[in-house]
């Protein structure tokens, strides 16, 4: 064994940086979860802090916490309801275009927003929706309506987040479906045409079944992320006026922990969401093994 390990010594050297990095930035933080059960403050040591039992978990009795949970689920479910079927629909539409130059153009343009940061997206929203000189309110007032303060309203926050999320990612999410469509045997379509099947019938009986495996993979992969709505998108759009509906688990952890220094409480909330997402991943994997005969691992 030792001789065999010596033979592979250079391979170990290659793997070493990765192993060390994971140890430093993944495994030690895992051990740091004990902060959730301690009265830790920055400056003291984790191991030296006192155990406090479940004291840090007192937030489960607070209304505010459950509001945050509700906000998280609300936004992630909404994003899923729209974000899951629309790329499929878009891919089907792109596939129907006969002019290949226009087809390539549509694809290039629809992928583009994926490469911009959520901050840039937030600026786009601000420039369109702001009260002073924004395009949307210009149009509303021209048509005789009252200007709406989109950026600081509780009713408009969710539509804003869901639609800007769609705008940014819908094109990008079509790539896999378009690839799957391109592998479908063209003879199937020829045969269907001979039998007199119209476009819609072809989509229903050939294209959709053809991309079904891809659809199910995307579905499986999207379920574990239901609990993490993404600080990246929400945080830049959140302000004191819309916090009621904008505050999600990620921003709650951020505010309590990094901004206010309640490390124990924030770690406890983070722990709960890590455990939920672990359960989601494991469940999804075993369900997919049962149905598809193959899981993620």
């Amino acid at each position: 064994m030792v001789a065999r390990m010596l033979k592979y010594r250079w391979q170990y050297v290659m793997i070493l940086p990765a192993v060390v990095l994971l140890f430093l930035f993944n495994y030690i933080p895992m051990a740091g979860i004990q902060i959730a059960f301690k009265d830790f403050a920055i400056g003291s040591t984790i191991w030296g802090s006192h155990w406090t039992g479940l004291e840090n978990f007192a937030f489960v009795h607070e209304e505010q916490f459950w509001k945050v949970v509700k906000n998280t689920l609300y936004i992630s479910v909404l994003k899923f309801i729209f974000g899951f079927p629309l790329p499929i629909l878009l891919a089907l539409m792109i596939n129907e275009i006969k002019n290949s130059a226009f087809k390539r153009f549509v694809q290039s343009v629809s992928y583009l927003p994926h490469f911009f940061s959520w901050i840039v997206v937030a600026y786009i929203l601000q420039s369109f929706l702001t009260l002073d000189g924004g395009l949307a309110n210009d149009l509303i007032t021209k048509m005789g309506g009252d200007p709406i303060f989109f950026l600081g309203s509780t009713e408009w926050f969710r539509p804003m987040i869901v639609s800007s999320g769609l705008w940014k990612e819908v094109g990008w999410n079509t790539i896999l479906y378009l690839a799957a469509i391109s592998t479908i045997d063209p003879q199937l379509y020829e045969a269907a045409k001979v039998e007199g099947a119209g476009k819609l019938a072809q989509i229903r009986h050939i294209t959709l079944p053809g991309i079904l495996p891809t659809i199910s993979i995307v579905l499986i992969l999207s379920i574990p992320s239901l609990i993490t709505v993404g600080m990246d998108q929400i945080y830049p759009m959140m302000n004191s006026a819309n916090q009621e509906v904008a505050d999600v688990l990620d921003t709650y952890v951020l505010r309590n922990g990094l901004q206010q220094g309640y490390f124990g409480v924030a770690t406890a909330v983070g722990l709960i969401s890590s455990v939920i997402s672990l359960i989601l991943v494991l469940t999804t994997n075993s369900v997919s093994r049962k149905i598809n005969g193959e899981g993620l691992w």
Binding site: F25, P29, Y111, S117, T267, L278, L296
Partner: protein, 297 residues
């Protein structure tokens, strides 16, 4: 081939919808460009939708004259270059080292790596670890923690497995060590995949605002996106104008010509420009990259 009226109308509807989608992506950038090239006070009156009405470079002069922004640019470029090349190096070394099937403890190491995909300590313990390692408030917090990507490693491994083993065995017979094989055989053969993964990593670095906002206090260390994030909620121009070296430009223009909005739009255009410029050249790589990554979810 007979085309029914219904199908032709369908085709037109699809073309129309997709053209609308393209407009929705392109227009915001034209709009922001027009605002940024217009004098601020004039733009605030509204009505600048596509073309600057009262053209000026002043907003760009203000932004580029700001040492904080210029410095932020250097930070962003530095972390993108170091983070991308360093990340690819660490990740491909691990992927190649682990591609040796007879490596002792190979499965153990793979499990060690896989676990980090399922569970993590969450934000707070991660932050505390960064703090303890002395990484907070340094440039290296942008580069080191993200050097190894588990996801990219698995994608690379899949690709390396596709390289004929005969080539590697031949090189070994000729006396080449693993590092030489990696540099002279694996890396050249993996170029398209390295390009795709490198592009994704680079975009991730370019667009990251989070670490600059929370792991760093020193304004001299923030990247462009964090600067943008701070500017997004700014109430007045002082954050851009203070310590502005471009006093000459400021003096030439009366202050009323510059508004927060026009300066914001110029800043966001400057931050987005590099991506807009390289995008056409990189397109062919990223589609390929998504394909490689998706073969197994």
């Amino acid at each position: 081939m007979k085309v029914t009226v219904l199908e032709r109308t369908g085709q037109w509807i699809i073309v129309l919808l997709l053209a609308l989608l393209c407009v929705s992506v392109i227009y915001p950038f034209l709009y922001m460009l027009a605002i940024s090239l217009n004098t601020g006070a004039d733009a605030a009156k509204g009505g600048v939708y596509l073309w600057p009405r009262s053209f000026t470079w002043i907003n760009y002069e203000i932004v580029l004259g700001n040492p904080v922004i210029r410095h932020a640019y250097l930070i962003t470029i530095g972390r993108t270059v170091l983070g991308t090349f360093g990340g690819l190096a660490v990740t491909i070394m691990a992927a190649y080292g682990l591609s040796y099937k007879h490596l002792p403890f190979r499965n153990g190491i793979l499990t060690y790596i896989l676990i980090t995909m399922l569970f993590n300590g969450g934000l707070i313990p991660f932050y505390i670890q960064l703090f303890k390692l002395g990484l907070t408030n340094t440039f290296w917090v942008y580069v080191i923690p993200g050097l190894f990507s588990v996801w990219n490693m698995f994608v690379m491994q899949k690709f390396i497995q596709g390289i004929p083993e005969v080539m590697i065995e031949c090189a070994e017979l000729d006396g080449a060590g693993p590092f030489r094989i990696l540099l002279q055989i694996i890396v050249p053969l993996s170029k398209p995949m390295l390009a795709a993964l490198g592009l994704f990593t680079a975009v991730g670095h370019w667009n990251d605002w989070f670490s600059g906002a929370f792991y760093v206090n020193d304004q001299n260390l923030i990247p462009v996106q964090t600067f943008l994030q701070q500017l997004l909620t700014a109430q007045d121009l002082s954050s851009v104008l203070s310590s502005n070296q471009n006093q000459e430009a400021l003096a030439r223009s009366s202050m009323s010509n510059i508004t927060l909005m026009s300066v914001k739009m110029a800043t966001v255009m400057i931050s987005a420009l590099p991506i807009l410029l390289v995008y056409p050249f990189l397109q062919k790589y990223f589609v390929k990259g998504v394909m490689i990554g998706s073969v197994k979810g």
